[in-house]
Symmetry: C2
Subunit: 154 residues, 2 copies
DNA sequence: CACGATTTAATCGTGCGCAATATTTATTTT
DNA sequence: AAAATAAATATTGCGCACGATTAAATCGTG
């Protein structure tokens, strides 16, 4: 970045191009992950966002829709129909919190709980699709989290 | 990865968790980028995927639907309606290739060509939303491209 | 030349992702 | 207590993303 005499800030052309390329790389890698996970998740009838919700529930137990949304960065417009489909599939149940009837508490059914081991075993099949060692994966994860935080900060 | 005596390959629990975390980090960073670009692109009435198509056309000139799809990793099911909307907006035109009537050649209209500078200037406003310096951006870009290549290789 | 196989786009159905709006319940103000 | 405000979820509408199917044009081989 170069400060010009008039105080206006200019971004060099190359920097703009790099940001575009990074954005596309992230966009494109997300699609690639989706495609890699899809055949695995198809076997248990889950989509990737549905799988994320199940992951959260397996780890944390029953949660409100809002809490799930905060953890996954998704709003009710996305979650409501998604949760309805998970309920339809018999994996979760929804109930109003008696303490605060505005909240809907999502909890796992027995079928939903059982799916954890099933998916865990199936996930072994994905092997090392990333082709990264653990240090590289951890490093990439951290950098992306930082990137996301920077972007969210505006 | 550890090879067991029976030849079966087991992925340690931690490695599986890391891969999940990396996948989510990519998924989540992609959404963050989208949210960062959206207010900018809204000003010119483009979505991010539409913007990607325009970028390709600005760089390469007229292209077939298939070529655009290869560059962006999108299929005709995604591109056909998207291109229809860009045509509706008066930014591109579509014509069958006289040499091979199967192909549809997408070319920029004057309005579409003009939009390049307009968007370029607006994109300056995004500043350094990533919070990364150029070396960092280039490094992340390259590693994500490698990751994508590994995932695509299955 | 003919006919089956391949290539290229378009279409359809399902499921996100998100903005805008509505609805219901809870909380705060007056 | 009544009215205003806020919070949590649901609904609607639009635009990807992708698999599956369809239709038309081209190519390959006998």
């Amino acid at each position: 970045m170069t400060d010009k005499a008039d105080g206006q800030i200019m971004i060099p052309e190359e920097e703009k191009r790099l940001e575009s390329q990074l954005c596309f790389a992230v966009y494109s890698a997300a699609h690639a992950f989706n495609r890699a996970y899809k055949p695995i998740l198809d076997r248990v009838g889950l989509t990737y966002p549905q799988y994320l919700v199940m992951l959260v529930l397996w780890e944390k137990g029953a949660l409100s829709v809002k809490t799930i949304g905060e953890k996954l960065d998704l709003d009710s417009g996305t979650l409501s129909p998604l949760l309805k489909r998970l309920e339809q599939a018999g994996l979760i149940s929804r109930a109003r919190d008696p303490k605060d009837e505005r909240q809907v508490i999502i909890s796992l059914t027995e079928k939903g709980t059982d799916m954890k081991c099933q998916v865990g075993m199936i996930m072994d099949a994905i092997g090392q699709a990333t082709g990264c060692d653990m240090a590289e994966m951890a490093n990439l994860r951290d950098r992306l989290q930082q990137l996301k935080a920077n972007l969210a900060a505006d």
